[in-house]
Amino acid sequence: MTKNTTFKRPQTGQSASLELTHALTQTVYREARMLDDENYVGWVKMLADDLLYHMPGIETRYRRDKTDQVNDLTRMAYYNDNLEEIKKRLSRLETGTAWSEDPATRYTHIITNVEVEMTEKEGEYQVFSNFYAYRNRNEREEDSLIGNRVDIWREAGAAFQLVKRRIILKHNVLLSKNLNIFL
């Protein structure tokens, strides 16, 4: 008997094939390397035109409180950007007068717990991951940002583009003076 099942498209929510999982894992690692290197030209090329890049502010609330702090896009958010808005933020670095970026911040993004799942849409994949982003600056300023991400990546030719990212930082009070970083 032929083992057709190996080649059958997994259903929505099921794990993607080994090959796809590998390709998307490499993609999010490559993206992290670009952010570490401040290679924002390269990073923007990985972003889809219809991007939603969302990192909500999360208040501490009791378990019984059903306020939707994650999906409600009208609430306060660190990021709630489309592609044009991301580009606007990045254009600050090209002005030559972004004083707090010179000397440069030193970044390391550690991406872990990558899972790739099929979605309803052909060519679009849901990628879960955790991040540990470390920053160090000037003499001894340092901080760590830790959280989860849920992404949608879309096949675009031989590569993938980020269509949607939801970032949940585990801070209530951001324990940093700013967010000169993408997660």
Binding site: P56, G57, E59, T60, R61, Y62, D65, T67, Q69, D72, L73, T74, R75, M76, A77, Y78, Y79, N80, D81, E85, K88, R89, L90, S91, R92, L93, T95, G96, T97, A98, W99, S100, N172, V173, L174, L175, S176, K177, N178, L179, N180, I181
Partner: protein, 455 residues
Amino acid sequence: MRIERIGREPEFSQYMDLKEGWLDRRIFSDAEIYEEELYRIFARSWLFVAHESQLPKAGDFLTTHMGEDAVIVARQPDGSIKVFLNSCPHRGNKVCFADAGNTRRFVCNYHGWAFDTGGELKGMHEEYCYDEIDIDRKKNGLKQVARVAGYKGLVFATFAEDGPSLDAWLGDFRWYLDMLLDNEEGGTELIGGCIKSVINANWKFGVENFIGDAYHAGWTHDSGCRSMNNGEPFPPVDMENSYHASVNGHGWEFGTEGVGDLFLLGRPKVMEYYERIRPKMAQRLGEMRSQIFGSVASASIFPNVSFLPGISTFRQWQPKGPMEFELKTWVIVNKAMPDDIKDEITKGVMQTFGPGGTFEMDDGENWSNCTTVNRGVVTRHERLHYRCGISRQIEHDTLPGIVYRGQYNDANQRGFYQRWLDMMEADKLDAMPERPEPRLTGVSETRDVPGLFAL
């Protein structure tokens, strides 16, 4: 409530000469001065605790701090708002750990003492262990602040039983506040949620930056301005038609060109919206205020609230030690605005003045470096220069307050530190001078005062 202070009383006037225009750096890092600030300023000032829109229903609450004292702000069944310590009278534990929510009871995790939303003790775990003589429930509620009052949606509270009413505390600054709080029918609301961040800087650096430091904007924020507006630099400042106005330590610096801050937000739809309502705003607030609103401007309410009218960021600098503050930021919009305009403003504020905002990022860096460097044992004894525009005070027929000409000025900063000094030195709040003598005494409504400030 009397705030007892044990120990020596330092002479605070040694730390500044505002007529000469200098400050001693020690006020930005000294631990003893900071402790005195908590007693003399934060335990006696009217402090912003909430916007009414955050507590629409009975049982709605939020937690915040007055100085470093944790408090709960709660909407009562009768519609009033109460503010009380977030600390159980039994052993002092916190009774509420959420930032906000809705509840019927605040229950202490330690021994199950339960309080209603007004702070009254309603019961406790294994109540039979207390004999009648042991406890009077009426006297063992959560400690109420001395006074709560509101001004056009903003809720303030104070631990001080004596001292001015909120209206007197704000004084003629209400004339300016109305540009933020009352520029359209229906008033204002805060967008849901609050973004908090920690900056290793003295709280006063945030307040003084917003109270009058237009001067830093064109330099510090050149990159922010250009990024939000297709490479365009800051709009030029008109030193002849821009002002500083200081009232009892509050301050508003502003141009009169009407569009500068709206431009900086980088949202054409929002600019169009305000242009559409500007004629109505002029009917409401008079021609002059309708031209001030939207200009390059920034403001602070003494001691620790700031905002940018037109950009719509609204924030509080919460002290957490001499060299750290927690910045709480909200977005303030008009209730009457359509949803898409509220969304545009919210996104615009977070892209400019959120922690990842193109403007905000350069500020925190400056303030934390000012604070840490000022602490050096030699450095701290060097004076700081606060003399800009010291001879440019004017009398203005329309503009209330202590008014200086020219937006690039240290005048409001000097006004803020004068009030700081007044409070640090005053034993009784009633004895504090009004700076300046108010024009609006006895008038609780600053809008619709016929003829008073008509151009």
